[in-house]
Point group: C2
Chain length 659, copies 2
């Protein structure tokens, strides 16, 4: 039942002498071209748009609930996943969650205070962020492990960008107002992304860009800690390396207190040693987890007993405890910085989501479940909106704390509830105990969390695999380091998309030949063993778009190849036909069609036949629509290169026979 | 000599009962995979870059001239093509060029004066532009037909953009200085593009965008002519429709002179009738060509004899004749508007080149020769640099005059020299005669040239073929009409590139099936007749880039398909294997490789085999580099879908046999 063409395939043309007559065995059986030409129309523009909208706004509506109440229940379960998993929640699970929640809290309290300092806010604002947002997330989120609270990179973003609008040391109240407003914007953007199912937005930061950005941010955050570690009073609000080092050098000339440095470094070494122990023995994961809180307790005792604060050791001093106060009346919508605040909110929203979703996904894939990006966005959005009204700044899923939560064996988001309650109790009872906690300890706790953000191996891997990808990585890294956080992000996004655009429009072409012993036609560069077909040049377009940006160079190269103007050694060979393999061309525009018409015209004027093979769905549709097929005739369209070659060889043998 | 696999092809699988044993006839002969895996490395990043630089900076250096003198001669001939074609120039050709040059001059003089008025300059500056630039172009240009001089769109660009910096009625001297400086910048940019062989830059305005832009510009230019046609003294410097119509309506309420309108319309009708005659009878092409100069002479006589200027008819009055004066000392490099002027120069450079090269190429293709885009850029650049120093504003190849030049039978750029000399003689002798020429006539001459810029048919064609392409066209059109010329351009470029980017990153995928009676696997949508392969799903990626922007949705869709979570009717069919056809994927980045790894992991965990077919050169290279092949094993790489299907069916029959 095989077709005549398939019979023909079994003849190995490479072994046939060129001038003999076995070509006459080939039949012109362009019977598959009818499939190409008679394919149904692809979905129209309007159908595509409405399809995308339907898919995004009304997903998985195949199994419609029958009654209104079941409809409401389905909706509620969709928004609050706790209604789903809560029913199967057992006491045995709670035991695990209690332990992991308490471990989490012991890490969370010192980190939150440290990140609040990084964000130029009083310590309590960091702790507030570990109360309300985790509670909201625990009923709306879909990740079992994600530990919610303030994180380093977002704290840096907030302080570096809001400080440009209002100086936090001169006017802390106005600064706080802007921070809460930016948090509200961030939450609203996140919720909006979730509602409109724009989950793909966070994909626009490429993997390489994130690696570079995180490493740059880690170094910038580390440099910011020099303030606490050296006990410097006056510090720059800028974040680039040059400004910070300049400020540090200036301070070293005036006044700094070595005791801070001594204290900070000792405890930094202590924490790093505990981490080393935790890495060596996975069962001892709790030692690095509680080492920060032990450091805080020990150092506070040391300072309290030695009264080191009178010898230059900077301490936290008094801060306000108690439940999160409302900050609704601190949200500002008619100030002069509204546009800027919205921009800050947008950037924080994207970065916070990127970190949370990346962390959540990697742990979800370990446990083997899927994270719904859109639900996560909605949960993050609502938790930040609620946070902005209860004196929290932008919170998200923290990488280091999520890892601890996972190691401690958490079973569900209940561990977040346990942590939030523990932090709340601490806020009520223990804030006075933190009076003598030295700032240098907070700096060393933050510093100890930074190495996890720098991924040398991944950067080296990117360099090895793809130099241009590495450029995006390096651009983000140096942008963050030497300009600012936003510039670094901008560079990364521009390099990533610029590269994508260049890849899409480069006028790629390759010549094909036949793999010996087969009917498969392959790129001569990739497969150097391929054989030429005498008298026929087979060219495959290597660009997904045949469009205004590359139509002219492609046209010029093809006509140059065809008319032997490229000065290669094949110049003296006779070219009877050009086969243009369009397999890779996904879309064509009016410039591309025009170029095809001109190629055809030029080739016809030189008595060279043109065959177009395997035009894809949208391409053949447009070629038909634009009248191209009517102009050039449907007999130059083939489904496969093989058939086009057959047709050429047959027609030549016929014309030879006529001679 | 056919391979075992090719033998297997002759068995039409569609007719075989599924549960019987003929699968045992298939051999696992993945012998082409070795070709895929052992292909040589593609050119490295550095090799590619140096290749591009070499190709662009030192083109066609295959035939190196042997001595220094022949090297110099080759270089000179390259820069001044006149040295090449000038040697074969004959008296018979000159006769044709003389006639076409004189015809050209008769059209050029009134048009140049009109375009100078459009650019808010005195009449002589338009005429200057028809003297020096054509002379330079005639020795450097490669087009035989292109008629050089001021054109409508560039005049509009200059007036609309420079007027924003300096008001031409309040300070004409400062305005002129900026115009000359912008011209110098435009020329320098053009020459630079030519030297660096950046010819591809002008391709970045897509065909659709140019159609929309030209139509919008034509309407805006037409509206500007209402000033001359109605004899309005005070007019707006803005170019958008709303402002212009507003200014016209206001003027109609105060003072306008119907005689101007009567005179202008009469001669407009006269010119349009001559054009109609020229179109009906191609031999009478000279009638529309000289009708503008006849209109000027007749109307000047009428006004002179009737003294209509005393009844409100606006006339040119005195303007300075003589040779182009030097404007070197009018170039300003330390004014406050330097950056803006450079921007204007850049935009004018691109638009002028786009028009000239488009016009030049279309006539060159009629005569059957090639236009070298880079040489054209160099010639345009030097002619505008020279122009900026001899009181010309930006000039380029005019569409309407080039058509006249072609119809008049020009043979070479000598017709440009004839025209330039004629205009120069007119400047010396006849400027006084133009004292009484009414401004309304200039307006009607410009208006008569505009319909050629509006291409309804092409716009309709674009709409029919591609809706998104039409969006770029409409964006440029309405942008020019209702905002400004630059906004229109910006909209067009953004829409064009945004569309390209969307096309490149949309996570396209299609399922393949086998065409009945063949071994060809095709898209189920495009070819509804294709047959499923039982137990195997064949998925082809439809995106040229498998990268950060689309890796996640592709990964999710594939794992959903594989794990039957997509709720389709095939859900209850057993999937043994997924074949991922990568034929269309031209490049992959680290996110893409990561996604492939996760797909593989997920499928393995569900006991589903993954086969990757036909990875292209760069893709397989990166898969090898990143260690992906080592991780998944080289036995899941195939050259063709057909072989992967064979391997699946064989392995299943073996496992069935084992049961």
């Amino acid at each position: 039942m095989s077709s005549p063409t398939l019979h023909a395939l079994n003849v190995d043309m490479s072994n046939l002498p060129e001038k003999q007559s076995p070509e006459q065995e080939f039949h012109v059986t362009n019977h598959t071209a009818k499939w190409v030409l008679n394919s149904p129309d692809p979905p129209s523009f309007c159908q595509q748009i409405s399809g995308i909208i339907k898919k995004n706004l009304f997903p998985q509506r195949n199994s419609r609930p029958s009654s209104l109440s079941s409809h409401v229940i389905a909706l509620l379960t969709c928004i609050f996943p706790v209604l789903d998993w809560g029913r199967g929640y057992k006491a045995s699970k709670f035991k695990n969650d209690l332990i992991s929640g308490l471990t989490l809290a012991s890490l969370s309290i010192p980190q939150s205070i440290g990140y609040a300092a990084l964000a130029n806010l009083d310590p309590q604002y960091g702790l507030y962020g570990s109360v309300v947002p985790p509670l909201i997330y625990s009923v709306m989120g879909t990740s079992q492990e994600l530990a919610i609270g303030p994180v380093a990179v977002v704290s840096l973003l907030i302080s570096s960008m809001v400080s440009k609008l209002v100086d936090p040391t001169l006017d802390p109240v106005a600064y706080r107002k802007l921070v809460f407003t930016a948090t509200l914007f961030a939450g609203s953007f996140q919720a909006l992304f979730g509602l409109l199912r724009l989950g793909f937005l966070i994909d626009f930061l490429s993997h390489a860009a994130i690696v570079g950005f995180m490493a740059g941010a880690a170094i910038v955050i580390g440099l910011q800690q020099l303030k606490g570690l050296l006990g410097i009073s006056h510090f720059t609000t800028k974040t680039d390396v040059v400004s910070v080092l300049d400020a540090v050098v200036k301070s070293l000339h005036t006044s700094w207190y070595p005791l801070n440095f001594l204290l900070g470094c000792s405890f930094l070494i202590f924490i790093l040693i505990t981490r080393f122990i935790g890495k060596r023995n996975k069962k001892l994961f709790w030692i690095p987890a509680i080492s920060p809180v032990i450091s805080v307790i020990l150092s506070t005792l040391i300072v309290y007993l030695s009264r080191a604060d009178q010898h230059g050791v900077k301490i936290i001093k008094h801060f306000k405890g108690g439940l999160n106060p409302s900050s609704v009346n601190q949200l500002e919508f008619n100030g002069p910085h509204l546009g800027e605040t919205a921009k800050i909110g947008f950037i924080c929203a994207i970065i916070a989501l990127t970190e949370a979703v990346a962390v959540g996904r990697s742990f979800a894939s370990i446990k083997g479940y899927n994270l719904d990006g859109n639900k996560e966005m909605l949960a993050m959005g609502f938790m930040n909106i609620a946070g902005s009204m209860s004196s929290c700044y932008v919170t998200t899923g923290s990488f280091s704390r999520t890892a601890v939560n996972f190691s401690a064996g958490c079973q569900s988001t209940v561990s977040n509830i346990v942590m939030a309650v523990t932090v709340l109790i601490s806020l009520q009872l223990f804030t006075k105990l933190l009076y003598y906690t030295p700032l240098a300890i907070l700096a060393s706790i933050i510093l100890s969390a930074l190495p996890g953000l720098i991924d040398y191996n991944e950067a080296y891997h990117i360099w090895k695999v793809d130099k241009l990808d590495f450029l995006a990585c390096a651009g983000a890294f140096f942008g963050v380091l030497f300009a600012s956080v936003e510039i670094g992000l901008l560079v990364a996004v521009c390099v990533s998309f610029g590269r994508l655009l260049l890849n899409s429009i480069r006028p790629g072409m390759e010549e094909l030949g036949r793999l010996p012993g087969t009917d498969i036609y392959c790129d001569k560069g990739q497969y150097p063993d391929v054989l030429d077909v005498p008298g026929v040049r087979i060219i495959r377009l290597n660009s997904g778009n045949f469009c205004f940006a590359n139509a002219r160079p492609i046209k010029e190269r093809i006509t140059r190849w065809a008319t032997k103007e490229d000065g290669k050694e094949e110049a003296n060979k006779l070219t009877n036909g050009i086969i243009l393999d369009m397999s890779s061309v996904m879309s064509i525009d009016s410039s591309g069609i025009l170029a095809l018409e001109e190629i055809h015209k030029k080739l016809v004027s030189r008595n060279i036949h043109l065959a177009i093979t395997n035009p894809r769905w949208k391409v053949i549709h447009k070629l038909k629509l634009s009248g191209f097929i009517d102009k050039v005739g449907s007999d130059c369209i083939f489904l496969t290169v093989n058939e086009a070659v057959d047709a050429f060889l047959t027609s030549r043998s016929v014309s030879l026979g006529n001679c």
